[in-house]
């Protein structure tokens, strides 16, 4: 955050504006008391220093309200608002505001100086990301404030541990100088391998999106068109997966609505139940998909899979549900529920420091996946619950930088269906999505 400087008035060079305001000369002669909320101001000049590629019209639009300031208090508030908004728009890295009396000594005359620091034309970085049991290295080159109106352009190259790689280009532009409303456009190519299902896929796609806020939360509307090229991973790939090889086009419209008020996204705390600081948490997830065209079938890369060390523990990665020659086929609907009791490490080693990142937990999780027959809903739902899989166990959770989560668990699968790949005993998981 920047700082707001206001010059302290000195006795010798007291501006006329201050002299007229409440000066109490009773206590000490040199003490000056100023009521900022009553101090009238007239902004005569606003100087923005440090502009090179940012367009004048954007800055003028943000600065203009300052000219209407009536009191000193209001002026400070408006200057601060302009600074925050310009920073949020991605125009400047840093903005320092200096307020001074105007040089021509006019009555109540002030001038405001914005010292702005623009972003570098081209910026870049290398960072690592962790997704579920997979890590990747991302190389990014970005051009912040590319065309001088808060536009952002970035190029990404991703290299994953499981022979995944891809690149993407993204451009976004705020609309009407509002940092919360923006349009984005992206183009990408991504290659991934899915050994649990025995296929690899190259996605080439483009997407357009519009983000806008409402009083409830932020909305994102996105249209995406993807050309998917699915191929068998090896000669051992089962024929039912191989049959789906080939090119397909997916056009999708997605609406994302998000309200984020979590204090900690990795180890959320939904109410403390016991005073000994155990945390009880129950989560549920589920999904059903259906094709709009009754003749069409759902491609394997769109289906739901279940199982893995952070979802349905006690099973191999995507190890639940129908398999054909070791390749998971997935299903069109699923549900998954998990209950955890978290408590701190026994004897609390490293309390207040490193030890707080670790927690022990006991858990029970259950889930199922299958096909919902829309003509016979009750029987289908019944089936989804009677053939459920469940497991329980305990382990240690480590949360890393509020981003990723590491779990080492001892799991006992209790109900396993035919074709499932259970993984009883010790199981290690790392990832960002979990239940």
């Amino acid at each position: 955050m920047g700082t707001v400087h206001a010059k302290a008035p000195t006795v010798d060079s007291q501006p006329s504006g201050l002299k007229t305001s409440s000066v109490s000369g009773d206590n000490k002669k040199n003490d000056v008391y100023v009521k900022f909320d009553k101090l009238p101001v007239r902004v005569q000049r606003v100087v923005v220093d440090g502009l090179t590629r940012t367009k004048d019209d954007v800055v003028i639009k943000e600065i203009k309200p300052l000219l209407g300031a009536k009191t000193f208090d209001e002026l400070v508030q408006l200057s601060y608002n302009a600074k925050v908004k310009m920073e949020r728009l991605g125009l400047f890295k840093n903005v320092v505001i200096a307020i001074d009396v105007s040089k021509d000594k006019a009555e109540h005359g002030y001038e405001v100086m914005f010292e702005v620091q623009e972003f570098r034309q081209i910026d870049g970085g290398i960072h690592t990301t962790i997704s579920n049991n997979d890590g990747s290295l991302d190389f990014q080159v970005k051009a912040p404030n590319m065309m001088g109106r808060g536009e952002r352009f970035s190029l990404d190259y991703t290299l994953g541990t499981k022979r995944t790689h891809g690149y993407s280009a993204y451009f976004r532009k705020p609309l009407n100088n509002n940092p919360d409303i923006f349009v984005g456009c992206t183009g990408y190519q991504f290659h991934g391998e899915f050994p649990w299902s025995g296929y690899k896929q190259t996605d080439r796609g483009m997407a357009f999106d519009l983000t806008f806020p409402t009083f409830l939360g932020s909305h994102n509307l996105q249209w995406e068109g993807v050309w998917r090229d699915l191929r068998a991973l090896s000669r051992d790939t089962s024929f039912s997966v191989r049959e789906q090889a080939g090119h397909s086009l997916k056009s999708s419209l997605k609406h994302t609505f998000s309200i984020d008020s979590r204090n900690n996204p990795v180890l959320p705390s939904v109410g403390a139940l016991w005073q000994t600081s155990q945390i009880f948490q129950v989560s549920f997830a589920g999904g059903i998909m259906r094709t709009l065209d009754p003749r069409a079938s759902i491609c394997i890369s769109d289906r739901f899979f279940l199982g893995g060390p952070l979802t349905l523990r006690g099973f191999n990665m995507k190890g639940c549900g129908p398999h054909s020659h070791d390749n998971a086929l997935g299903a069109e609907s699923y549900w998954l529920a998990a209950a955890h009791v978290y408590s701190p490490l026994p004897f609390r080693p490293g309390r207040g420091r490193f030890g707080d990142l670790f927690k022990t937990h006991f858990f029970v999780n259950a889930g199922n996946l299958g096909t919902i027959d829309f003509n016979n809903l009750s029987a289908s739902f019944n089936d989804m619950f009677t053939t459920l899989r469940w497991s329980y166990g305990f382990g240690i959770v480590l949360c890393m930088g509020n981003l990723a989560r590491l779990e080492l668990n001892y799991v006992i699968p209790m109900r396993v269906q035919k074709g499932d790949k259970a993984n009883p005993g010790l199981q290690f998981g790392i990832g960002v999505q979990f239940l």
Partner: protein
């Protein structure tokens, strides 16, 4: 790598008899398949018919992508997938079906020479005509290749395939040939085949061999496919004994199969 896998598969597969549910996969014959692919499919089909093996043809729009080698046709025999002419011949012979058993070593190597001549000359000529001859590529091959995909894939995929074929033909110096030169090559090839066949029923006497299947696959395709210009059809029709040969094989192996 894939050759080793093929060999191992063939050896393992040999211990089992020819199952009932053998399927040959190819693209849709009427709407989709392109000239060079159809010739390859027909050659394999003819070969299997000549061996007297049961199989059925299944048409899939994504047959090319399903194939382990990326080329059509391929056959599914139990858990094994075998694609293209030579591997199929190899696989079938491990099951005890061999059309060239009675040939002498000299005849067998002569047969190999003719087969590779056909693969080289007719195979490349078909690719040239289908993908590089502007009229045929634009009016026939590309629309057919992209027919089962939505726009823009119906445009991208044929374009990509054309680029692939062009690169291949540039590598073996076929791309720079003129249409007349290509027709000349085909004529030379047919001349050689016609002289070898003479008045015989098959190339090596009374019994069909792999070569007969191969020749039929290519020549029948060239004779019956109507393309703008009709260059190849005219060339093949000049050789009476080859045209009769195609008719004869069609009558003896396909009329029966269709009825």
């Amino acid at each position: 790598m894939s050759l080793v896998v093929d060999a191992v598969q063939a050896t393992i597969g040999a211990s089992e008899p020819w199952p009932d549910d053998v399927i040959l996969y190819q693209q849709y014959q009427v709407e989709q398949i392109t000239l060079p692919d159809y010739a390859q499919c027909l050659a394999v089909e003819t070969f299997l018919h000549m061996c007297g093996l049961r199989f059925r043809v299944e048409q899939r729009t994504n047959a090319e992508e399903m194939s382990p080698s990326g080329k059509v046709p391929f056959i599914q025999v139990g858990p094994y997938l075998v694609s293209e002419f030579d591997p199929v011949v190899g696989f079938v012979s491990t099951k005890g079906f061999n059309l060239s058993q009675s040939l002498s070593d000299t005849e067998r190597s002569e047969m190999r020479a003719y087969i590779s001549m056909i693969e080289n000359i007719l195979g490349n000529a078909e690719l040239y005509m289908a993908w590089l001859y502007p009229d045929i590529a634009a009016e026939v091959t590309k629309p057919r290749y992209g027919c089962c995909y939505p726009w823009p894939l119906s445009w991208i995929l044929p374009w990509r395939k054309q680029r692939e074929v062009r690169a291949r033909l540039e590598a073996n110096d076929w791309a720079s040939k003129t249409c007349e030169e290509v027709c000349g090559e085909v004529r030379t090839c047919c001349q050689a085949l016609s002289e070898r066949l003479e008045k015989k029923k098959y190339f090596f006497g009374d019994k069909p061999t792999e070569l007969d299947a191969m020749v039929f696959g290519h020549l029948y395709t060239l004779l019956t496919t109507i393309l703008p210009g009709g260059h190849f059809t005219a060339v093949v029709q000049d050789f009476d004994n080859l045209a009769q040969f195609c008719k004869r094989i069609e009558d003896s192996f396909f009329k029966l199969a269709f009825d």
